[in-house]
């Protein structure tokens, strides 16, 4: 059942550009893919360890800036820049993971927010490097051997590959010993420690992986929009990721994917009906409503409904 559903989803994703008529629809699909990577990255922390990072836009922004700067100023190839962007975001994740070694809950949230705040201020004020609030225009499109991935269809497949890779990584991670250790940490930390789970070790590890994935999303975003500015650190991005994970179903593999597609397509579809501010207002109300009426998210709710019918 799940295998068949997975096959259908994969087939649909692979042939999607042939079904979609206008480049605008492909654009929405690309953004959904980038946000899927980000949502999966946040879900590793929020869903599996129970730690909420409200500074995820920082890792996203570090990835975007690193990739943009390396290709613009040093004229590196996209692939090398991507690798360094992922690596650097991972290093930042290691730094935060170590800092947050003994901090849980609200204190972890505060450290991640503060970190994002500092990084955002650096991007605004270090004008020699980042061009300040004006941002960096003209980020080159990636090339694969002789081909340019400039077209939307080509970029769609690049993003799809990143989504597939991230999904495979998450799946591998959470179904391993590490994943079980993380869930043990989320459910009862003292008990997990008492039976010999090195809680902080796993927390640092998963923060690094999560940050690196957010960096991947940032690099893909930078080379797609071809422009990076301090706006990549906007809290809106973090909020969007949180909504995607909470609505889709935190602590499930499919949840962030469902959330990312839903909350990229819905705002675009509703764009004509409601302005951006109304949508953000609705996001806030929705988050409150989700906690009250759908605390576990869409995917677990659907799974439970399906199991009942059988």
């Amino acid at each position: 059942m799940t295998r068949a559903a997975g096959f259908v989803v994969a087939a649909a994703a692979l042939t999607l550009p042939f079904w979609l008529q206008s480049p605008y629809h492909v654009h929405v699909a690309i953004m959904a893919g980038i946000f899927a990577v980000l949502a999966m990255s946040l879900n590793l922390l929020l869903g599996y360890t129970g730690q909420l990072s409200l500074g995820h836009a920082a890792f996203f922004g570090i990835g975007a800036y690193t990739s943009a700067l390396l290709t613009l100023k040093l004229e590196w190839s996209f692939w090398l820049a991507l690798a360094v962007a992922v690596g650097l975001a991972g290093v930042a994740g290691f730094f935060i993971g170590r800092l947050a070694l003994k901090l849980r809950g609200a204190y972890f949230v505060l450290v991640t927010i503060s970190f994002a705040g500092v990084i955002s201020l650096v991007s605004l004020n270090w004008i020699e490097l980042t061009n300040g609030p004006l941002g960096l225009p003209g980020v080159p499109a990636p090339e694969l051997g002789p081909w340019s991935l400039r077209t939307k269809t080509a970029y769609y497949y690049l993003v799809l590959a990143a989504v597939a890779l991230s999904y495979a990584l998450c799946r591998r991670l959470v179904r391993s010993r590490i994943g079980r250790a993380l869930v043990a940490l989320r459910e009862n930390e003292a008990l997990a420690e008492s039976i010999g789970v090195d809680v902080t070790h796993y927390l640092v590890l998963v923060t690094v992986v999560s940050a690196a994935m957010a960096g991947l999303g940032g690099s893909l975003y930078a080379h797609y929009t071809r422009f990076v500015s301090p706006e990549v650190f906007l809290f809106t991005y973090t909020v969007t990721m949180v909504i995607m994970v909470v609505a889709g179903g935190k602590g499930t593999l499919a949840g962030p994917l469902v959330g990312a597609v839903l909350f990229t397509v819905l705002p675009e579809a509703l764009r004509a009906a409601a302005s951006w501010q109304w949508q953000m207002l609705a996001y806030g109300v929705l988050l409150v409503a989700l906690v009250f009426f759908l605390p576990r998210g869409i995917v677990p709710r659907l799974a439970a409904a399906l199991a009942d019918r059988r």
């Binding site: 927010i113 806030g284 988050l287």
Partner: protein, 290 residues
């Protein structure tokens, strides 16, 4: 030396309002175990009420301040009764998500209602600074400092000297025992949230005329309130007061001697360093982090 004194005085003015923000947050955090990420939005609300009262209704400054406190407290009370009371037995993470939702909703409601353009609040004070020996201070800032000090003193009296304050302290120490002794926990929670929100609104109404008023001003206010709470230790009133003054002075010194672009980074760095080195706060005697 004169420059240093001037920075210290400016820091004190900022710090007084930070202390108001911090006291409200530390009470809500300590007493209700709710991480109130919407705290800064009550600060923004206070500033907008002050703007509406002064610029549109044209009332007296004191009336505007009072209106801000009343509206902030009323909305805080509503927020507690409607959203937090049903979730009282849920985990801290659940209520945190709800408060993040309230934060986003309130901020964007303000953006829709008032527009994104920053507004300046007209105030009745003369703009010529008062020269006091080596330092100078604008009359408005002096007024802000005095009123902040008065509100801090009033909060202290409320907590330490009244029956309500005693019930609040008892609830902070041990909720279940307090309930057994006949303290109405529901009422105490509602009062605490309304009180904290009212103080945040007062801080917004006081700082609004000094700076500009815009919808996202609450984000930084929230973070500053959290820095103050972390500095002072959870649920520690004196700690929050001292922490607020310290943060205000540290920011002024950072902006004056390092770079004004990084003024707001001071709070972030304080959060990270204090959590790293002394997680129970600078003034706490015991470990309080769960």
């Amino acid at each position: 030396m004169e420059q240093l004194l001037q920075h210290l005085l400016n820091g004190l003015v900022l710090g007084g309002t930070y202390a108001l923000l911090g006291i409200g947050l530390t009470l809500i955090f300590g007493l209700m175990n709710v991480v109130n990420f919407a705290h800064g939005e009550f600060y923004t609300l206070g500033a907008y009420v002050c703007f509406a009262a002064l610029a549109l209704a044209g009332v007296d400054f004191f009336v505007a301040l009072l209106a801000a406190i009343v509206v902030g407290a009323a909305l805080g009370w509503l927020c507690e009764v409607a959203l937090l009371r049903p979730l009282r037995n849920e985990s801290i993470d659940t209520t945190m998500l709800v408060m993040i939702g309230v934060w986003i909703a309130m901020q964007n409601a303000e953006l829709l209602g008032w527009g994104g353009v920053a507004k300046s609040i007209p105030h009745p004070f003369p703009t010529a600074p008062l020269v006091l020996g080596p330092v100078a201070i604008a009359p408005l800032r002096l007024f802000v400092l005095v009123l902040a000090a008065a509100l801090i003193a009033a909060s202290w009296l409320l907590i330490q000297k009244t029956k309500l304050g005693r019930a609040m302290r008892a609830t902070f120490q041990d909720r279940d025992t307090a309930a057994l002794m006949g303290v109405g926990i529901g009422r105490i929670h509602a009062v605490t949230f309304a009180f904290g929100s009212g103080l945040a609104a007062a801080a917004g109404a006081l700082l609004g005329p000094v700076f500009l008023v815009y919808p996202s001003m609450g984000d930084l206010a929230s973070l500053k309130a959290f820095s103050v709470v972390i500095l002072g230790g959870l649920g520690n009133l004196a700690g929050a007061t001292l922490g607020g003054l310290l943060l205000g002075i540290a920011e002024e010194l950072g902006a004056g001697y390092i770079s004004s672009g990084y003024r707001d980074a001071v709070g972030f760095v304080i959060i990270i360093l204090v959590l790293l080195l002394r997680p129970s706060g600078l003034f706490a005697r015991q470990e309080r982090i769960a």
